[in-house]
């Protein structure tokens, strides 16, 4: 994004803001005690001032600055709103509007800097609580100022003319509006919007995209039903149509989805400039680093987090990072580091803004909080360090020693928090004195599409975001009593030697069915191993269904209090399923406590994670109950297909998998002696056998499925006791998990499979010729 784009965005945004400002100010006049409304007005002006500050529109900034000063006094209750002040403020809005128009047309904020208006605004500030002057006098004065400077008839008409020259079809209405615009306050917003000469892109309302998205979702459901019907009806015409419909709907869905997704880099790109300007303004040296620029977010979210992020970045530079001399004194590099990081975690997007500055001063916050009456001294005494740090997100709180142009008005952080929470996210702050501060913004993937595991519990389906999923463990009925142990009543499972706390979904959700009873009765137990905030736990569910790409839809505001759900989604059959919030669930089940000891968890996970030289293997049964393994890293997924899904392509077993044809290689065939291989290869799948277990592997950009008899386990081992392979397609034998295990040579299997297929095709052909 280059600078003109930034200016353009700024203009569009400011026009919208100004319109709201007009409404708010007028509303405020009717109801001067409306604190929220006043805070809204204040924030709007603050945003405009802030943005034009770093874009370099100094005159505009000046005007907004005096306006803001006046508003500060109003907000703090040092001044009461009266018509005089309102008129002056509206005059300011008009002046800002006029300057924006100048910027749109010339790129500069005009020649005039409204000395009269600024004087009026400054004087009103001083008027304090004793408004003795005749209200009429100043009001008309301000109006005059606005008229003289902002809306001189000639200028406005000229502007309108220029505009209509670009868009001839608007010649009719434009001058008329301009004429009325000269003698009353603000002209219509549409008249002031910058004119686009080339229309390669169109601004479309997000609500239109939302609607499209919803309708496409419905279309996909209807398509699914149509496909089901067409499969049962023998009609070539219908099948052809439904097939085409299928493709079109999929493509349409993809395209509509794309219209809404944007990489976060789009908003980050303007930060280097922001950082440079702010740093320059306060005599600091700051370098900015970005990770995860390409992380895609829904359009609505991108827009909603833009301002909060800008605030946080400016704050970090202004307050966080010290001036070069101080840094050198503290033994740090002269240049401060500001790191932006974005990534997906647990079905959410996490954005971190870290600086290596001085960190927050706990004592200072404590003092300020009490001084400002945000909390009582008693409360502060009982707070943890983290709680104290998070006090800065409360309204009216600012620790900056002096009010600077950039921040320190106590508006920044609470705006950040409100804006992030409005889209269902949260903000958290960690700080180490002398080392720096990290602000972590967690936002949901409101309308993103995520892969999820669908499970059933008490007859209802729930989706678990795949990102939190580590693995699935199934305990057969006879293993249950032995496998699940109790630590003073709390169920645990030994997963590769470590205790995994178990959480029963039905109990946490207070559902009717009881997995624990089912377990002791007849059934097996399904454990979904999940990761939440660096902790692992096993979620026991009734049934594991499948993985699916789901469209996340946010829950209604009032249901957001239920922290165990991250959203909802519509399933293939048209019914609604809830998406589990793994972290919320873990907190509910006390797997992670909100005020956990971070260093402790980090230490334990470090100790567990870095046992040197170990590799993770997937173990499965080969022919004749032999033990076979592949490194887990080569595995893309584990799947189970019913035999009816296996089709023959020539002599090759294949199946339809995620819109592709997946060749299936049978382990039994691959390990067969060469002379028997051909015969075995051509055998079609036995129709009556149970579902087949398939390891989906990727090699050299090719996907294929390896059909195995049974999956045994996943094991970490060094595998350093080795001996040479005894048969083809095997790399070597090794002791894994205390037993001799053969390691498969995947490239060789693929190579041989290719050769086999060719040979078998040739064999079939020659057989045909012979016949």
């Amino acid at each position: 994004m280059n600078e003109t784009d930034i200016v353009k965005d700024f203009l569009v945004e400011s026009y919208e803001n100004l319109d709201r400002l007009d409404r708010d100010l007028v509303g405020l006049e009717k109801n001067p005690r409306d604190k929220d409304c006043l805070a809204g007005v204040f924030r709007t002006i603050h945003t405009i001032k802030g943005t034009c500050g770093f874009l370099g529109f100094n005159k505009l900034e000046k005007v907004a600055h005096v306006g803001e000063n006046l508003l500060t006094r109003l907000r703090d209750g040092q001044l009461a709103l009266n018509p005089e002040i309102t008129t002056a403020l509206l005059g300011m809005v008009d002046a800002v509007r006029q300057m924006l128009k100048e910027i749109a047309e010339t790129g500069q904020d005009g020649e005039v800097d409204y000395p009269e208006l600024r004087e009026t605004l400054t004087r009103l500030q001083g008027a304090a609580l004793a408004p003795t002057r005749a209200a009429n006098d100043t009001a008309s004065g301000a109006a005059k100022a606005a008229q003289a400077e902002g809306f001189s008839p000639g200028e406005d008409a000229a502007g309108a003319d220029r505009a209509s020259a670009i868009q001839p079809d608007e010649i009719g209405p434009a001058p008329a509006v301009a004429a009325t615009g000269t003698n009353k306050g603000p002209a219509k917003e549409s008249e002031l919007r910058p004119r686009e000469t080339v229309a390669e892109t169109i601004r479309v309302g997000v609500n239109v995209l939302d609607k499209m998205m919803t309708l496409v979702g419905e279309l996909v459901l209807a398509r699914n039903q149509l496909l089901q019907i067409s499969n049962t009806v023998e009609d070539a015409g219908l099948q052809a149509v439904s097939q085409r419909m299928n493709l079109i709907a999929s493509e349409l869905q993809e395209e509509v989805m794309k219209t809404r997704m944007q990489p976060i880099g789009n908003i980050w790109n303007q930060f280097p400039r922001t950082v440079r300007d702010v740093a320059l303004g306060c005599g600091k040296e700051v370098g900015i680093e970005m990770e995860g620029k390409e992380t895609e977010l829904d359009k609505t979210i991108i827009e909603a987090i833009k301002d909060p992020l800008t605030h946080l970045v400016r704050n970090s530079v202004d307050h966080g990072i010290e001036v070069p001399e101080e840094r050198v004194k503290a033994g740090k590099d002269r240049t401060g580091r500001l790191i932006l990081r974005a990534f997906h975690e647990g079905g959410q997007v996490i954005i971190e803004i870290s600086d290596d500055g001085a960190g927050l001063k706990e004592e200072q916050i404590r003092k300020k909080a009490v001084e400002r009456g945000v909390v009582t001294a008693d409360q502060v005494a009982r707070m943890t360090e983290r709680e104290i740090f998070n006090l800065i997100f409360l309204p009216g709180f600012s620790t900056a020693e002096k009010v600077t142009n950039v921040s320190g008005r106590g508006v920044g952080m609470d705006v950040v928090k409100t804006n992030v929470e409005r889209i269902g996210g949260n903000v958290d702050l960690q700080s180490t004195p002398g080392r720096g501060t990290t602000v972590r913004v967690k936002i949901p993937l409101t309308l993103a599409i995520i892969p999820a595991l669908v499970v059933t519990c008490a007859g209802e389906r729930y989706a678990i975001p795949q990102v939190s999923l580590l693995e699935l463990v199934r305990l057969e009925a006879d293993e249950v009593t032995k496998g699940i142990e109790l630590v003073h009543g709390a169920p645990v499972y030994r997963l590769r030697g470590r205790l995994l706390p178990l959480v029963y979904l039905n109990q946490e959700l207070k559902l009717e069915s009881d997995s624990r009873q089912a377990a002791t009765g007849d059934g097996a137990v399904n454990i979904v191993v999940l990761q939440a905030d660096e902790r692992q736990f096993g979620l026991v569910v009734d049934q594991i269904n499948d993985t699916e790409e789901i469209v996340v839809k946010p829950l209604r505001k009032q249901l957001k209090t239920v922290k165990t759900f991250a959203g909802s989604s519509i399933m293939g059959d048209g019914r609604v399923a809830l998406i589990l919030d793994v972290l919320g669930l873990a907190q509910r089940a006390s797997v992670v406590t909100e005020t956990r000891d971070r260093s402790l968890t980090e230490k334990t996970s470090e100790a567990a994670g870095t046992e040197e030289g170990k590799q993770t293997f997937l173990l499965f049964a080969g022919p004749g109950d032999s033990r076979m393994a592949i490194p887990l890293g080569t595995l893309a997924r584990l799947e189970e297909f019913p035999v009816s899904h296996v089709e023959m392509s020539g002599s090759q077993w294949v199946t339809q998998y995620r819109g592709q044809i997946l060749p299936l290689i049978r382990l039994t065939v691959a390990l067969e002696e060469r002379r028997n291989r051909l015969r075995a290869l051509q055998a079609p799948p036995a129709a009556d056998s149970g579902p087949i277990q398939v390891l989906v592997l990727n090699h050299d950009g090719r996907s294929f499925g390896l059909v195995v008899d049974r999956i045994l386990d996943i094991i970490d081992d060094r595998a350093d006791v080795r001996s040479a392979a005894t048969r083809a397609n095997v790399l070597y034998s090794a002791v894994i998990g205390e037993r001799v295990t053969e390691l498969l040579d995947i490239p060789a299997i693929l190579r041989n499979a290719d050769r086999n297929t060719t040979e078998s095709t040739l064999a079939t052909r020659s057989a045909e010729v012979a016949n």
Binding site: E460, K510, Q558, L559, T564, I570, V576, L578
Partner: protein, 151 residues
């Protein structure tokens, strides 16, 4: 309410209720519902309204009435609230009724408790009373009892 206004009426436990017609998006028969565990008990579940996920509020529970008899299907009156569409579950749909403003009367002082805040008043129809429901209040998802305690 000086002029005539139109109400979409429905029955709950034999009582006649109405919401202003202009606040009603649509009326549909019973839909499949997904329960929301841990949610306030007035939330019956979520329904898929042509791709839009809508929360269904059990009006009987919201109004502290006896629960609906087992096996009877509720109708959905989908209303537009500030926070998007909400489906109100009712027993049976009535007619659209047009009433004069002067037939309206505020609820009697003897109507107490949480329900009072949800009932704006009644229109005196010829043979019965039409309870006028406040859509926003009715869509709030707290249990009747909890509102009364002042949660």
């Amino acid at each position: 309410m000086a002029h005539t206004s139109q109400f979409c009426t429905f029955y709950l436990d034999k009582l006649l209720f109405g919401v202003e017609l202009k606040g009603v998006q649509e009326v549909i028969r019973s839909l499949e519902m997904t329960k929301v565990p841990l949610a306030p008990s007035v939330v019956s579940g979520l329904i898929n309204l042509r791709g839009q996920i809508v929360t269904a509020v059990d009006l009987r529970r919201r109004l502290d009435l006896d629960p609906r008899a087992q096996g009877t299907l509720a109708m959905n009156v989908v209303v537009r609230s500030e926070d998007g569409a909400v489906s109100l579950l009712v027993d049976e749909i009535g007619d659209v009724v047009e009433v004069e403003g002067d037939s309206f009367e505020a609820p009697p002082e003897t109507l107490r408790g949480s329900v009072r805040s949800m009932i704006l008043g009644v229109h005196k129809l010829k043979d019965r009373l039409l309870h006028v429901l406040d859509i926003e209040k009715a869509c709030q998802m707290t249990d009747g009892a909890e509102t009364a305690i002042g949660r």
